[in-house]
C-alpha cells in the first residue's frame, strides 16, 4: 500500500486515475480506517486530500455556503452562519459518531462511504445540495442525491473525488431539521432517519418542502409524496398524518441486527413527523 498526500486536486486525481489497484480517499478516515483494520479492503493507494487548497474551508457563495470536502463535523458545527442557514444539515453531520469522530469525520466522506444510513445525507438531499467533483476530465457538479448508487457504492467514476458540497441560499422563512433513531443516545448507526426542509409563506403555509429518509432503502430516499402532503398546509393533523403515511409507504428496508422492516417503516414516519414540526418552528411557523 502507498500513502500519498497531494497538494493539488490535479495531482490527486491523476494518481487516483493512474493507479490500477484499489484506491481510497482519506479525509476524516473514520470509515476507511475501520475497513482497513477489519481487512475488508486492501487498497494499493490511499490519498490524503486534506492538504489540497480549499478543501478545508467553508466559504460564502451566492448567499449559500461552499463546504470543503475535508471539513470535519466539529468545524461545521462551529460555523454559526452556516448553522443558522441549514441547521438540519449541520445537526445531521454532528450526529455522526462521538466527539472524537466529529473531530475527523466529514460530510463528503459520509456521503461517499455509500451507507444508506449515513446521517449527513438525508439533510443534504432535502437541501438539494450539490457536490463539486474533480476528476481526470476536470470539474463537474452533481446533485448529492445522485451520488449514492447502492450500499457501499457511489456513481463517482475512477479518479473522481469530491472537493466541496454547496448548500444554496434560502428564501426567508425557510428551515430544515434532521432526526434519526438509534437504540442508545449516541454511538449508533441510524436505524431510520428523516430530514425535512421547508419554506413558509407569511401566513404560515408551507409553500415548498423536501423530505428525505435514511436507512429505509438501499440509498437515501427523497419522498416527494411526503412533501406534497404538507405543501399548502399549516401542518394540520391530517397533513402530518398524510406525511407519515407517505413516508412509511416509501420505505423498503431490510431486517437486520439493527432493526426490523416493521420497526423501520413505522419509525421513519414518526421521525418525519417530528422533524417537520421542528423545521416548521425553526422557520418561524405558528400553527
Amino acid at each position: 500500500m502507498r500513502f500519498a498526500r497531494p497538494t493539488t486536486a490535479l495531482e490527486a486525481t491523476t494518481m487516483l486515475a493512474e493507479e490500477t489497484g484499489l484506491t481510497r480517499i482519506l479525509s476524516g478516515g473514520t470509515d476507511v480506517m475501520v475497513q482497513l483494520k477489519a481487512g475488508a479492503i486492501e487498497p494499493a493507494l490511499i490519498v490524503d486530500i486534506k492538504h489540497i487548497p480549499g478543501l478545508r474551508a467553508i466559504t460564502s457563495e451566492a448567499g449559500g455556503f461552499r463546504i470543503g470536502s475535508a471539513i470535519s463535523g466539529a468545524e461545521l458545527g462551529e460555523h454559526a452562519e452556516l448553522r443558522a442557514l441549514w441547521p438540519g444539515v449541520v445537526e445531521g453531520c454532528e450526529l455522526i459518531g462521538s466527539t472524537q469522530i466529529q473531530g475527523r469525520a466529514t460530510m463528503a466522506g459520509n456521503l461517499c462511504n455509500g451507507s444508506p444510513a449515513a446521517d449527513a445525507v438525508p439533510g443534504l438531499v432535502a437541501a438539494n445540495a450539490v457536490a463539486r467533483i474533480v476528476g481526470p476530465r476536470g470539474e463537474r457538479d452533481c446533485l448529492v442525491a445522485d451520488i449514492p448508487a447502492s450500499p457501499g457504492k457511489t456513481t463517482l467514476a475512477k479518479g473522481e473525488f469530491l472537493t466541496s458540497i454547496f448548500l444554496p441560499a434560502r428564501p426567508p422563512r425557510s428551515a430544515d431539521a434532521y432526526l434519526r433513531f438509534i437504540p442508545r443516545t449516541e454511538m449508533d448507526i441510524a436505524v431510520a432517519s428523516a430530514a425535512v426542509s421547508l419554506t413558509l409563506d407569511a401566513t404560515n403555509v408551507v409553500i415548498a418542502a423536501r423530505v428525505a429518509l435514511g436507512a429505509v432503502a438501499p440509498t437515501v430516499r427523497l419522498v416527494p409524496a411526503a412533501a406534497d402532503a404538507i405543501i399548502g398546509t399549516k401542518l394540520e393533523d391530517e397533513a402530518v398524518a398524510a406525511l407519515m403515511v407517505a413516508c412509511s409507504a416509501a420505505c423498503s428496508p431490510i431486517d437486520d441486527k439493527r432493526g426490523t422492516i416493521e420497526f423501520r417503516t413505522q419509525v421513519a414516519g414518526v421521525l418525519a413527523k417530528r422533524a417537520v414540526l421542528i423545521a416548521y418552528t425553526r422557520a418561524g411557523g405558528k400553527k
Binding site: 500500500m1 498526500r5 476524516g28 478516515g29 480506517m33 490511499i46 490524503d48 462521538s98 449516541e186 454511538m187
Partner: protein
Amino acid sequence: MKTIHVSTFVNGDAVEFICAPDESLLDVLRNRLGLTGVKEGCGTGDCGACSVTLDGRLVCACLVLGAEAEGAAVGTVEGIADGDTLHPLQQSFIDHAALQCGICTPGILVAAKALLEKNPDPTDTEVRYWLAGNLCRCTGYDKIIHAVQDAAQKMRSA
C-alpha cells in the same frame, strides 16, 4: 510496503518516526514511541480508549494514520501532567474514585481536558454527551461525571 518518515510533535516534543503506510497513529504511539498510556480497546473508533488530540482536536488515534501526523501536534495522556504535578482532572479522578480498572481513564482524561478547554463550565448533560464516545465498563460513569465537574470547578476558581 515502503515505510514513511514522519516528523511530528508529541506532547510538545519534536519526534521523528518511520511507519508503514497503513499503520495507525495508535500503533505508532504504542509500538514505536512507547506511549502505552494510549490504549486500544476496539481499533474501530467505538470505545475512545485511544483518545488523543491532533492539532488540538480530540480524535481516536486508531482512526488516524501515522503518516497523517506529519507536521502535526499530538497530545496524549502522558502529556497532561505538568512534570510531577498532576493536572486537576487527574487529581480529581483519584480523589473521586472515578476509575476502577483504569483502562479507559487515559482516554477519558484526554477527552475531558479537551472539553474543559472548550467549555470550562459544562452541564452534567454536556459532559455526558461529550464523553459518550469513551466507554467505561466499570464505573457506570457516575463518579467520572463528578470528577470532571469538580475539576472544572477547581480550574474555574484557580
